[in-house]
């Protein structure tokens, strides 16, 4: 048996209301913004990046020794250095640790979790740490509609050869070449390629359907759907596409308060689900990564709460206005080296 044993999350405490971004730009009709169901999104503080979020989530998840760290992110501040290696050192893990970074757009987090599950199931190690972390907010162009929802966050799970809070039953995936959203080497901002790719369902809907369809679980049996949520309307949209009960998305909703946490999104959703799932509940983790790919994991909750404290982190909210968010996220061109004074 392979199960999820413990979990921890990190979400920037600073948040901006979508209404504030709308006031600054007025480039999207108000009712369209409101339809996203996102009240506010996370604003990473100036001292926050993917590595600090991953380290904070992992620290809270870590209740036992682990011998592998899988870190899924598409926003590693370093192009070549392993963020997982830095996080492992921050956690004080023994240097005898397997680390790797995984990059698969917004599904990097579930790719990390599946890798950890595979690592433990194969007997390569006893316990592995899987982390999904992203700071999309730093990669949304000012004035791009993506700026309304691009947030940040991290979630971490310890996976072990025991039942834990949820036992892994089966996994399935899907991938095709579908260019709906991407960031080029050397560029800061993520580009969308138009509503023909995003509104028609050729990316998100088709891939989650493909992956979910191979799980071998009847749609009506799904008790909790923990799903990637670029906005708070997407979980219901996916539930409808898959035919799973609408109420199955309730426990896993996180985007309404923090926006799009990228690779962390589906894992944050799962952490919140496993904080409240009952014994025997059928839990489906479902991710979508632009580009495009999906992972689906069927799990059975054991009734042991995973204790991620996700609500506590979501509730720790400090509102900031748009100019503050611009400053925190460094959405301006400045001197490489500012001049200061000593009064």
């Amino acid at each position: 048996m392979t199960g999820l044993i413990s979990a921890g999350v990190a979400v920037p405490a600073t948040r901006i209301a979508l209404a504030d971004i709308l006031r600054a730009w007025r480039n999207v009709p108000e009712q369209v913004v409101r339809r996203l169901g996102v009240g506010g999104r996370a604003v990473p503080g100036p001292d926050v990046d993917t590595i600090t979020l991953a380290a904070e989530a992992a620290q809270r998840a870590l209740t036992s020794r682990v011998d592998a760290v899988f870190l899924g992110t598409q926003t590693n501040p370093y192009a070549t250095r392993s963020a997982a290696a830095i996080v492992a050192d921050m956690l004080g893990l023994s240097p005898h640790v397997f680390v790797t970074d995984l990059q698969c757009a917004d599904k990097s987090g579930t790719a990390a979790l599946l890798s950890a599950i595979a690592w433990v199931s194969s007997g390569l190690g006893e316990r592995a740490l899987a982390i999904g972390a992203d700071t999309l907010a730093l990669h949304a162009a000012p004035g791009d509609p993506f700026e309304y929802t691009a947030g940040a966050g991290a979630a971490a799970f310890v996976v072990g050869a025991e039942d834990g809070a949820a036992t892994v039953v089966r996994a399935a995936s899907a991938a095709t070449d579908t260019p709906d959203r991407y960031r080029l080497d050397g560029e800061r901002h993520i580009r969308g390629t138009g509503s023909a790719m995003t509104a028609t369902g050729v990316g998100l809907e088709q891939h989650v359907k493909l992956a979910f369809g191979r799980l071998g679980v009847a749609a009506e049996e799904v008790g909790h759907l923990a799903v990637s949520q670029p906005d708070a309307a997407t979980p219901a949209r996916i539930a409808k596409v898959l035919g799973v009960p609408g109420e199955s998305t309730g426990a896993g909703l996180v985007a309404d308060r923090i926006g799009d946490a990228g690779s962390a999104s589906a894992l944050l959703s799962l952490a919140r689900v496993l904080d409240r799932a009952g014994s025997g509940d059928t839990v489906v983790l479902l991710s979508y990564g632009a580009g495009a790919s999906s992972d689906a994991v069927l799990m059975r909750a054991t009734g042991n709460a995973i204790g991620s404290g996700t609500d506590r982190e979501l509730d720790r909210a400090i509102s900031v206005d748009y100019p503050t968010a611009v400053r925190y996220e460094r959405r301006y061109a400045g001197h490489e080296r500012l001049t200061g004074t000593y009064e």
Binding site: G45, P46, D47, I51, M90, I318, R327, G340
Partner: protein, 140 residues
């Protein structure tokens, strides 16, 4: 847009080694405990200032503590200007010495406030590397 590509001379550009070798202190508050008199120090020391013993062992200190006294930086140094105001404090660690640290995600700071370690960026080094380290946030 034309950008000059000549390198800018700096007498003091840090090597990667300088910040790297003290990372355990920054990441996990690794200090020292004196084998002779049990005094605990942070940062890690080579000689115990209490008894001058060199029999010191490294040890990660408590990740929680309480504010002793606090102030608020309104003129952040270059590289720390992300926030216009940086609250900071002397924090007495549980079962350990005191540290000087920035407080994040806090509205008000009062002596006695319980705090916990969070890891954040300190600054970007002159060589381009990010230097991460301890900051503290309120414990609920």
């Amino acid at each position: 847009m034309w950008a000059p590509s000549e390198p800018i001379p700096r007498i003091n550009t840090a090597s990667g080694a300088r910040g790297w070798r003290n990372r355990h202190g920054r990441y996990r508050l690794v200090g020292t405990v004196c084998g002779a008199c049990e005094a605990v120090h942070f940062p890690a020391r080579r000689i115990c200032p209490s008894c001058r013993s060199a029999d010191l062992a490294e040890k990660p200190l408590s990740r929680t503590g309480k504010v002793v006294c606090a102030a608020e930086d309104h003129s952040p140094l270059v590289g720390h200007g992300g926030r216009p105001v940086r609250p900071f404090a002397i924090i007495e660690l549980d079962n350990g010495p005191s540290v000087l640290a920035e407080l994040v995600d806090v509205r008000t700071v009062t002596p006695g406030q319980r705090v916990e370690l969070v890891i954040r960026k300190w600054r970007r080094e002159s060589n381009g590397l990010y230097e991460y380290g301890y900051k503290f946030r309120e414990l609920p």
